[in-house]
């Protein structure tokens, strides 16, 4: 019990990311409104991006920008002093992609509303089944 509690406290951020991910999954599966489903999808995406960015964090490191001066240009860069920038660059792409999917999803939701006059999933399914 003590060991499990220690594990939870030492990695509290990972547990919160998983909570956030499950909140998003709940929104996508259990919510009836289409816009609520899209909000759930975005929460899920940002939880995964948060997890990836948190991998690059180092203790006692600074942001990955090398200061410009005469001495530094000839010295070797110590990687331990800088936060790993690779996950940041990858997740920058993922943020832009998530906004693109959000735009397409909302456009489809608006089209569905114009045809069926409702955003609720069960009412749309009922209208499709009874022509």
């Amino acid at each position: 019990m003590e060991e499990i509690l220690g594990l939870v406290i030492a990695r509290y951020n990972y547990w919160i990311y998983i909570t956030l991910m499950m909140v998003g999954l709940y929104g996508m599966i259990a919510k009836n409104n289409l816009v609520k489903k899209i909000v759930g999808m975005n929460i899920f995406q940002t939880a995964i991006i948060l997890f990836y960015v948190s991998i690059g964090v180092k203790k006692g490191a600074t942001i990955p920008i090398i200061e410009h001066s005469h001495d530094v240009a000839h010295q070797a860069v110590r990687a331990a002093d800088y936060i790993n920038p690779l996950p940041h660059v990858l997740m920058l792409t993922a943020i832009v992609v998530s906004v693109a999917t959000l735009g397409v999803a909302l456009a489809v939701a608006v089209t569905v509303y114009q045809r069926h006059q409702t955003l609720e999933e069960d009412e749309i399914l009922k209208q499709i089944r009874e022509p």
């Binding site: 909140v23 929460i43 920058l92 943020i95 609720e120």
Partner: protein, 81 residues
């Protein structure tokens, strides 16, 4: 990374996310989602990912909220859950 600040903002992020899913008004959900994105931006600034932080501030908190409000304006605010 200051862990007290990190934990505080992570709690606010989870609360904003749950609130955005639970509120019975789509405009309110859009605004709470904007608050969620902004908290996420602060979290990235704390983690040292400044480039990701200001992309999120402009694209996530700005453009996404505008998209949501435009979609709600063209449809309806009413929701059952």
């Amino acid at each position: 990374m200051i862990w007290q600040l990190d934990l505080l903002i992570l709690t606010l992020v989870v609360l904003c996310g749950i609130g955005a899913l639970m509120i019975r008004d789509l405009l309110g959900a859009a605004i709470l989602f904007g608050a969620y994105s902004f908290m996420m931006c602060l979290l990235w600034a704390i983690m040292g990912a400044v480039d990701v932080a200001f992309t999120e501030a402009s694209v996530g908190a700005g453009v996404s909220t505008v998209f949501f409000i435009a979609a709600v304006y063209h449809t309806t605010r009413r929701t059952k859950d």
